[in-house]
């Protein structure tokens, strides 16, 4: 859900393969990486089904296992106030099964579910049921409980040996993923296409309560979560990045199963999805199975998006959260997103400034002045629209947020005056590469990265271009982006101050 650093995750694949291009690597290393890159590129296969669904397959590894991902290009940035959180709650509902999974008698269930929706329509989404309606509501549920097979969908997966099954929703994607033994390949195609083709919005009103619990945990009781929600609401005034992916409480309470069904028909269409599989594969044979199952999905209308662009920021913004919690600071600078040529230099700059224990921000704030216990940096909240470069710090008692901001500003001013050294630049580039070399040993990460890249940038290879740009970043580029973006007028500072 928190899709910070998504850009880098997407781009990781190529980073790991091109490490050899970096200055300190040996000749042998360089040739290793180049051949590994060539081998990977030759093995990644892409297909487009007749219904417009794009498929990416990558055969790798020795163990007979694979990671399967279905990624849909829909998330918080597609939502409007009044219906925030709908993408996320739909993600939960996609685990409830279909007309054949999760039910003992779909014919009867369908009629009961339809009646629930009539009652919901008459009672503000079942929030103001009259006593008679409540009685009927409870009776219907009693009967439904005898028809439902709870968690049938996930139990079937478990039985097949699934691990790591989960889903996430962020600003622009909803991702469904799982690891399975190869013996369950056809099973996976059948189950995933079935939930796209014949989903049933059963147990919706219980799940709405579950999501409200999730919201309490992630936002209401988590100072960091609340601060982040506030920050986005201030940094963005018009663009939908301002609203939380999990949704506002009022909006979650107002959703109905009927509304979710309309949402699905608009966004869950083949042209708005990518299927991606990484692991031990036989692409030619496996593609036939994918076509047999996913080819069943109707084409649907292409998704049209009409999203208000965020205007220019004219002046620093500050937001303060006063609560019974220790002080925190986030400083967020507006920045363009990929494919803007400034995107890669900004990422490298962030790595130089705060990415390691030798970085100037860590050295000054954590080691020398000791005003912060830790610092971090991130880009987000999404990748499809202009986004933010964020620096965060946990304030170390007895220091104040103001002291942290002052120390931060002095590092940034000095950096803007002096720029980066060649050594800092080289170390940062290598570090970005090595981080993802480790990260992307996972089939699941690769599958998700391919699909995400394809959906927003039109090609899984978008990452190659980003990597090329990243590896060519110069000291002059760093100076230029520091001058242009690390400016107070286009930043938002969010702080937690302890309630006295």
């Amino acid at each position: 859900m928190q899709s910070r650093r998504v850009m880098r995750q997407i781009l990781g694949l190529v980073l790991m393969l091109s490490l050899g291009l970096l200055p300190q690597a040996s000749q042998a290393q360089s040739s290793d990486s180049t051949s590994a890159l060539a081998e990977m590129a030759s093995k990644v296969r892409t297909y487009t089904l007749k219904n417009g669904l794009r498929v990416i397959l990558y055969n790798r590894g020795e163990a007979p296992v694979f990671s399967g991902a279905v990624v849909v290009r829909v998330g918080g940035s597609d939502e409007v106030v009044g219906e925030t959180g709908i993408s996320h709650i739909f993600e939960h509902m996609a685990f409830k099964g279909s007309d054949t999974v999760g039910t003992k008698d779909y014919g009867r269930e369908r009629k009961l579910l339809a009646r629930l929706e009539e009652l919901a329509a008459e009672s503000s989404a079942a929030q103001s049921l009259s006593p008679e309606q409540q009685k009927e509501w409870d009776e219907i549920h009693k009967e439904l409980r005898s028809i439902w097979i709870s968690d049938d969908f996930t139990r079937r997966y478990e039985k097949q040996g699934a691990t790591g099954q989960n889903a996430t929703t962020d600003k622009e994607y909803t991702k469904y993923f799982v690891n399975l033994p190869r013996s369950a390949f056809e099973f996976w195609c059948e189950m995933e296409s079935d939930r796209l083709l014949n989903p049933v919005m059963r147990q919706f009103y219980q799940e709405r309560d579950v999501v409200l619990e999730e919201r309490r945990m992630r936002f209401e009781d988590d100072p960091g979560g609340r601060l982040y929600e506030l920050l986005l609401g201030v940094a963005y005034q018009r663009h939908p990045y301002r609203a939380p992916v999990i949704g506002y409480e009022h909006d979650i309470r107002s959703l109905t199963a009927t509304r979710l069904e309309e949402f699905r028909k608009r966004y869950y269409v083949p042209s708005n999805m990518v299927v991606s599989v990484v692991g031990k594969l036989n692409p030619d044979e496996d593609m036939k199975v994918i076509e047999e199952y996913f080819g069943r999905l109707p084409k649907g209308a292409p998704v049209a998006r009409d999203i208000d662009a965020e205007g220019l920021q004219e002046g620093e913004r500050r937001i303060q959260l006063t609560m019974a919690a220790s002080p925190e600071v986030i400083v967020a600078y507006r920045k363009p997103n990929y494919p803007d040529p400034d995107d890669a230099p900004i990422s490298v700059m962030a790595e130089i400034l705060a990415g390691s224990k030798i970085s100037p921000l860590y050295t000054e704030l954590v080691k020398r002045k000791q005003v912060a216990a830790s610092i971090g940096n991130d880009e987000g909240p999404g990748i499809a629209y202009p986004n933010l470069l964020m620096f965060s710090a946990t304030v170390k008692a007895p220091h104040t947020t103001e002291q942290v901001i002052n120390a931060f500003d002095s590092v940034i001013s000095r950096f803007r005056r002096t720029g980066a050294t060649q050594e800092q630049l080289d170390v940062a580039k290598r570090s970005i590469g090595m981080t993802y070399l480790a990260h992307l040993q996972s089939n699941q990460s690769l599958a998700l990265d391919f699909a995400s890249s394809e959906l927003v940038f039109g090609s899984w290879k978008a990452s190659v271009d980003w990597y090329d740009a990243m590896s060519k970043v110069s000291i002059a580029d760093i100076r230029q982006v520091a001058d242009k973006y690390l400016v107070p007028e286009s930043r938002t500072i969010a702080t937690i101050e302890r309630k006295k």
Partner: protein, 484 residues
């Protein structure tokens, strides 16, 4: 997002999914045969004169090498030092500089090489790990060895660690899951080495001399295991290991058995009042050591009860059917001497009583009626079919073998595991529920706001459910911790 699976809290389960045969599905699918015929490559092993065992497995996919040294030992064997000392020693091996390099110089050198070295010590074992590009391994491996053998424990870095630790202790109260787990640990294990929680005074009392002494005590080759995988030849590994660790002095003795748990928890409901909108609950009791004779039954019990996400009864009942919780899980987590049996859940303040009641009800259901044969078969299939993921990568294969050896699992553990799982009966699982759990002995910790307290107190007064047995006691977070 959709499901929070049990990960961190059930470390022992990490070792319990294993076996040697594969499920063959019911269809004529060549993919089934591929899985059935898969035989993971086994790591090569050799032992140095000083007792250090090396497990090596080549993996050519990427131009990197990773390694990890596992050492048995930890705070369980250091009962007389300030709490947190052993973990500080583990952290400072890497963070405090090593060999010829100061802490700053070591940070810089590793960053330049895009390599990592990390170190840590816990209650029962320690780990020092590295990762490196294959081309740089001759430069990184000696730094790794310096961190193991020649840490400098620089005073400045210890001061920095202390400041950061004090800040994290100050912030403990702000995360309900931390509050509940700290309080539960203390109420179940008391002031034994298993229950200790570092306080401000402990951190202040940790000295550099202490770290040096603990390093001398624990970091020894006897029984240690070094795992190396990646794009590197065996001869190359042999040479590096001999050069760097060949003269590491053996002690010729092993650690004594871990200390007993000399503590009898007092059952009850303990309420810690903090202004969170959700109530966070951990309940349970002292548990079992690893590898009791009924460990296969325990593994199946865990799957049925609460450790398998949506496939478990806790999740199905409390989350899916009742919508009372987003995060709920539980099970038997075997430990060194006595592990813990527990349930964790979060729910809105008003529903704290029904959520606890339902969770205990799920357990009592299993005590009264054995699970169905079908349910057991499902869980067996899940264990069998997911078994391959223990051997997904060479690093998984070698790392798993090292952990099993370090914790003294029998050599035939993997070979006998699946047959033992196959032999588990519904009655065996019911017996686990009956003999390993006793709700009358439960410690129930609830962290929540005043509304949660009132709702809980009112329901406990009028209802006769499992919680009716207990008194309700309000604690401050500090008073839940022994030593305050």
């Amino acid at each position: 997002m959709i499901q929070k699976l049990v990960q961190a809290s059930v470390a022992a389960l990490l070792f319990s999914v294993s076996g040697c045969a594969w499920l063959v599905g019911d269809k004529e699918d060549p993919r089934v045969a591929e899985v059935a015929s898969f035989k993971p490559v086994q790591p090569e092993r050799w032992t140095l004169k000083n007792g250090l065992t090396v497990l090596y497995l080549k993996d050519d996919e990427l131009p990197i090498v990773t390694g990890k040294l596992l050492i048995r030992g930890g705070s369980l064997w250091a009962p007389d030092v300030p709490t947190g000392s052993v973990s500080a020693m583990g952290d400072q091996m890497r963070q405090g500089g090593a060999g010829k390099l100061s802490a700053d110089a070591l940070d810089l050198e590793l960053e330049k090489l895009a390599a990592t070295v990390s170190s840590s010590m816990s209650t029962e074992f320690g780990a020092v790990a590295f990762s490196s590009l294959s081309s740089d391994v001759d430069r990184v491996f000696p730094l790794f060895a310096d961190v193991v053998l020649r840490p400098r424990f620089e005073a400045d870095r210890l001061m920095l660690w202390k400041g950061q630790s004090l800040e994290s202790i100050r912030r403990r109260k702000e995360d309900p899951s931390t509050v509940v787990s700290v309080a539960f640990l203390q109420l179940v294990y008391g002031n034994t080495p298993y229950g200790r929680v570092a306080l401000e005074g402990d951190v202040a009392a940790i000295s550099r001399d202490r770290l040096v002494a603990l390093h001398e005590k624990f970091i020894r080759p006897d029984g240690a295991i070094l795992v190396v995988t990646g794009r590197i030849d065996r001869q190359h590994v042999e040479k590096l290991v001999e050069q760097q660790f060949g003269s590491w002095r053996a002690r010729g003795s092993s650690l004594p058995p871990p200390p007993p748990v000399n503590f009898q928890p007092t059952p009850g409901v303990y309420f810690i009042s903090l202004p969170f909108s959700q109530a966070t609950v951990q309940l349970g009791q002292l548990g079992v050591p690893r590898l009791t004779p009924d460990y296969p039954e325990i593994d199946i019990f865990n799957e049925v009860f609460g450790s398998s996400g949506f496939g478990s009864r806790l999740m199905e009942r409390v989350r899916t059917e009742l919508g009372l919780s987003y995060g709920i899980y539980g099970g038997i987590s075997p430990g060194v001497v006595k592990g813990m049996n527990y349930v964790f859940l979060q729910t809105k303040a008003q529903s704290v009583y029904p959520a606890i009641d339902e969770a205990i009800g799920v357990l009592q259901g299993l005590q009264q009626v054995p699970p169905t044969e079908g349910e057991i078969q499902e869980k067996k299939a899940a264990i069998r079919n997911s078994f391959v993921f223990n051997f997904d990568t060479p690093a998984d294969v070698a790392g798993r073998q090292a952990r099993l050896e370090l914790l003294k699992y029998p050599a035939d553990y993997d070979q006998t595991y699946l047959p033992k799982i196959e032999a588990v009966s519904p009655q065996g699982v019911q017996q686990v529920a009956q003999t390993r759990w006793d709700p009358s002995q439960f410690v129930v910790v609830v962290v929540g706001n005043e509304g949660a307290y009132e709702a809980l107190a009112a329901s406990m007064k009028e209802k006769t459910g499992p919680l009716g047995l207990f008194g309700l006691k309000k604690l401050g977070f500090e008073s839940a911790i022994v030593g305050h």
